[in-house]
Structures are given as structure tokens and as C-alpha cells.
Symmetry: C2
Subunit: 148 residues, 2 copies
DNA sequence: TATTGTTATACTCTATAACTATA
DNA sequence: TATAGTTATAGAGTATAACAATA
């Protein structure tokens, strides 16, 4: 793909992409195993994590997750059947449905977060404190939109 | 989770974990959309990417992907039906099956790689060349096993 | 009319169990 | 006996199309 005469702007970009992709797959794999240890799929754990500090409608959840509302309707239905969350009519809009965690769901969300932190420790622990701060800053730069 | 009296070793770890998780989800989402633009699932594109520079058995692919061999058997079957790869008997072991890309599969793997690079450009382009090198190094440190 | 949500449907991904063929 | 692969089966995740209720 790259050539010996690549532009300065593209220097090292392919290496960055490779590292970013590999790290992402590795991280998602760790998260999936962490979720599985609590009998959850990664998507289910994401739902719990989102609802940990806010209640939301089906449509809002779909927006956060980047999934179709019909998909979220199914996810919420399965989680509700497991007793992890509940539906309630939105007081302001009769069409909308509010979703929020049950006590059991909140407990599981907390356990999941702790599990994730300890599961990723073997990776994050390879860095010094200074490196960890540096990496955090770089990743946040990657995540946030460039100034307009 | 964290307290004001956290140990020096844990300083900033939760922020790093948050950034790592968010970046990973964002990256996987971008990759999934890139794959979808070529009518592939992310897993199918991973298979093509792995086979791009080597042929492999079902078991080897399962190892690379972290999936069960029955899952890979299904993935390979569907990709074969689409004309993207082929099976052939392994010459050294009558039980094993070699899998390799067809010309069409190789073309698609190439197109997918290009699509990924351009899809991630809005993210990676936010960094200067020096920052990109720094991030690559940090991610590689995260990925590789600590020296024994 | 437009929006929110659900249901029906279909396909992919995934793993477990049972099986065949080869080592 | 052990290993490589396939098939049958089952369930989760996902989206499209059609629909009901509300705005």
C-alpha cells in the first residue's frame, strides 16, 4: 500500500491504523469475555453501562449504541425478561418508553465495570503512569472532533 | 470507583480504560461500516484480511480469530458460496482443509483495506506525524507481552 | 403527517453436541 | 485414542418492512 515516496502527511499512518485496529480487536475481545463471565453479551453490557447514570428512551439508546430502534427493542426485551431493567411510559410523550435499571441491573453494571477494569489491567499495566497519561491524551484527541 | 487516595500505580488508569474502550468501539463501528460498504460483515472482512498474505487451515483461522472451528466452518462456507475463497485438501494432513482467497476475494480484501484506511482518516488525521508515531508506539507496547 | 415503538421476518454470527474421516 | 472438520441445532444480534399509537 505505502510507497517509498509517500507524503510527509501520510508518514506512519498505515502503522498507526494497524496498531489501532489490532488494539481495538484485542480490547473488544477482552470486554466480550468480561461480559460473558456475567452471562451477558457485550451489547447487553453496553446497555447496562449507558443506563448506569441516566434513564433513556428506546430511541436515545439506539442513538448511543448506533443501532436500529428495532434492535434495541429486542435487546431491552431480553434484558427485561432477565430482570435487569424495566420499561415505563414516558410522562412527557405518550409514544416514548423510558428504560431504567433494576437493582439487579445496577448491581450487574457495577460488577461489569469492575470486571472490565481488572480484565484490561494486564494491558494497561504495561505502561508507566506517564505513558498512561500520554496515551489517554492521544486517544481523546482521536475521539473528539477537530475544532471547526 | 477511584478514590482521592488511590495509589500512584493506579493513577489515571480509569481514564485510560475509558478512552481505550470508547476508541475501540468507535474504531470497530468504523470498520463495520467499511465492511458493509462492500457487503461484508466485519468478521468476513477479517477472514479476507488474514488470508491476504497466507493460506491457512480452518483450525488456524479459528485461532487467529479467537472463534470456534464450527463458527469458522460456517464463515468459510458462506464466503465460499460468494466466490471469495476456496477450500482445498491439505497435502500434508488428510484431515485438514486449506483455505485461500480467489481473485475476487483478493480484490475485495484490497478494496477493504483501502476503505478502512480512508474511513479511519478522519480520526487518524487529527494527529500530527509526531503524535501518530507516539501513539503507534504506545499501542504496540499495550499489545505486546511484557518482556519475561 | 411525522414520530416512537413493537412485531414479523430473515439472515449472520456464535457455540455445543454428535458425527465422519484421518492420524 | 486424538485431532480436523462438518452438520444439526439453538439462541443472540442485526436490519427491513409493516403496523399501531401518539404528537
Amino acid at each position: 500500500m505505502t510507497t517509498s515516496s509517500e507524503s510527509a502527511a501520510g508518514a506512519g499512518r498505515q502503522e498507526l491504523i494497524d496498531a489501532l485496529v489490532l488494539t481495538s480487536f484485542a480490547t473488544i475481545a477482552v470486554l466480550s469475555r468480561a461480559a460473558a463471565e456475567h452471562d451477558l453479551s457485550l451489547t447487553q453490557l453496553r446497555v447496562l453501562a449507558i443506563l448506569r447514570d441516566r434513564r433513556g428512551t428506546i430511541g436515545e439508546l439506539a442513538g448511543y449504541l448506533g443501532l436500529d430502534k428495532t434492535t434495541v427493542s429486542g435487546l431491552v426485551g431480553r434484558a427485561e425478561k432477565k430482570g435487569l431493567l424495566q420499561r415505563a411510559q414516558n410522562p412527557a410523550d405518550g409514544r416514548a418508553v423510558d428504560v431504567f435499571l433494576t437493582a439487579e441491573g445496577a448491581r450487574l453494571a457495577q460488577a461489569g465495570a469492575a470486571q472490565i477494569a481488572s480484565s484490561l489491567a494486564p494491558m494497561t499495566g504495561k505502561l508507566t503512569t506517564a505513558q498512561a497519561r500520554q496515551l489517554t491524551t492521544l486517544l481523546e484527541t482521536l475521539l473528539h472532533e477537530a475544532a471547526p
